[in-house]
Symmetry: C2
């Protein structure tokens, strides 16, 4: 998972062997982490090839449009991309440790929450790239977190999926893991611990999950990476 990131000019890894799957990933990409979490939670064996996002190897462009990652390569040569599509594929293909609810209504409601969380992600991205929180973004983040806080109150818990994390938990986790980086901008007040008590409890419980533990980074590592990213020289190999 912490292998060096391949860049333009790097040799293409050999074809994958029969029965294996390979994830083209990046150690600090939250969308890639979604797939790492799903693979680890479902205990699916896989190999990782890390890709440098500012200097992608040419052969990556032959695998997905614009060399997009995360990308999942199968042993028949097919390559899937788009994190949510890969996650759904893995959950449907590998039946052990089902992550989506088997109740179609519950699954649909989780999907709606995930759509709302996508808006929170976009607001966070704007915040990180601007280095400040504008009012519009603050509203979207607050509204999103309030919805999720209420939702936890209405579910048996402690996870959104019940007594162990499910698809919704894992799909939102990568950004929740990084939420403390807001203190880098002096904006930690957005995530007021008194206002989002249940979410804070959920976050603590998620940290105890085996799959989460495997890919989780501490806040200082995230801040160090983010500083290199904002300086225009992202240090993807920080943990290699």
């Amino acid at each position: 998972m912490n292998s060096k990131h391949l860049r333009k000019g790097s040799r293409q890894p050999s074809p994958i062997s029969k029965g294996k799957i390979r994830l083209y990933s990046n150690r600090f990409c939250p969308y890639c982490q979604r797939i790492v979490l799903v693979l680890d939670a479902k205990k699916i064996p896989y190999e990782v090839v890390n890709i440098n996002l500012v200097s992608k190897p040419d052969w990556m462009y032959d695998k997905t449009p614009s060399g997009k990652i995360p990308a999942l390569e199968l042993d028949n040569g097919e390559v899937l991309y788009e994190s949510l599509i890969i996650a759904d594929y893995l959950d449907e293909k590998y039946h052990a440790h089902h992550l989506h609810s088997k109740d179609p209504l519950q699954k649909a409601k989780d999907q709606l929450l995930l759509r709302q969380f996508t808006k929170v992600i976009n607001a966070l991205l704007k915040t990180v790239s601007a280095g400040r929180v504008d009012n519009d973004e603050a509203d979207i983040i607050t509204e999103g977190l309030t919805t999720f806080e209420k939702e936890l109150a209405n579910r048996p818990g402690p996870y959104f999926s019940g007594n162990k994390p499910g698809m919704l938990d894992y799909m939102i986790w990568p950004w929740c893991e990084r939420s403390d980086v807001l203190k880098m901008f002096g904006k930690e007040y957005i995530l007021r611990k008194d206002k989002y008590k249940r979410l804070m409890e959920w976050r603590k419980m998620m940290m105890e999950d085996e799959a989460v533990k495997k890919s989780c980074c501490d806040v200082n590592t995230h801040i160090k990476y983010l500083q290199s990213y904002r300086a225009g020289i992202p240090d993807y190999d920080l943990l290699s």
Copy 2:
């Protein structure tokens, strides 16, 4: 399906009876038509309440955020929205006439195509609201249609899903039904019939499908509606 569109001040329909489902819809909304197609293809009984989009009844805002439609109301009072989420829900809940492929890989590949089609939809929307086709939009439309043309060549056909339409066929249909309105802007050359032979053949076959026939409008009706829409006074009740 052609009932008058309820507007601000209209009385709220009575609660739905046990075992029934209700679609809040609009006769000319292509996203709503997606759900109508799924319901009809799966032969699920449903009732329709049409909503005026420029003057929504107040009670619609209690059902979905911003009174969004299409919205599917269940007999337990729950309301789902977002066309793709509703479509997936219906396909998982009602097993007869399965629309998604049962092969997870095929389903994932169809989902990727659908993502690409969403870009075509957005380019078409820009075109319709601007009344002209800019180069960027023309490129996106051409690239999308070329992908779909190639895809049809690589599949057994005649439909994307084989010998009868499946989820991908129905999810892209509403915009394909409307494609001839481009002639309203003198831009029909974008859909060159010689370049997209298989897509044209597919379009003809879709017109023969029972579910498509039920909601399909002729091009003149679409143009008439679009003219009223562009004039700022959308005539949703054109067919009532």
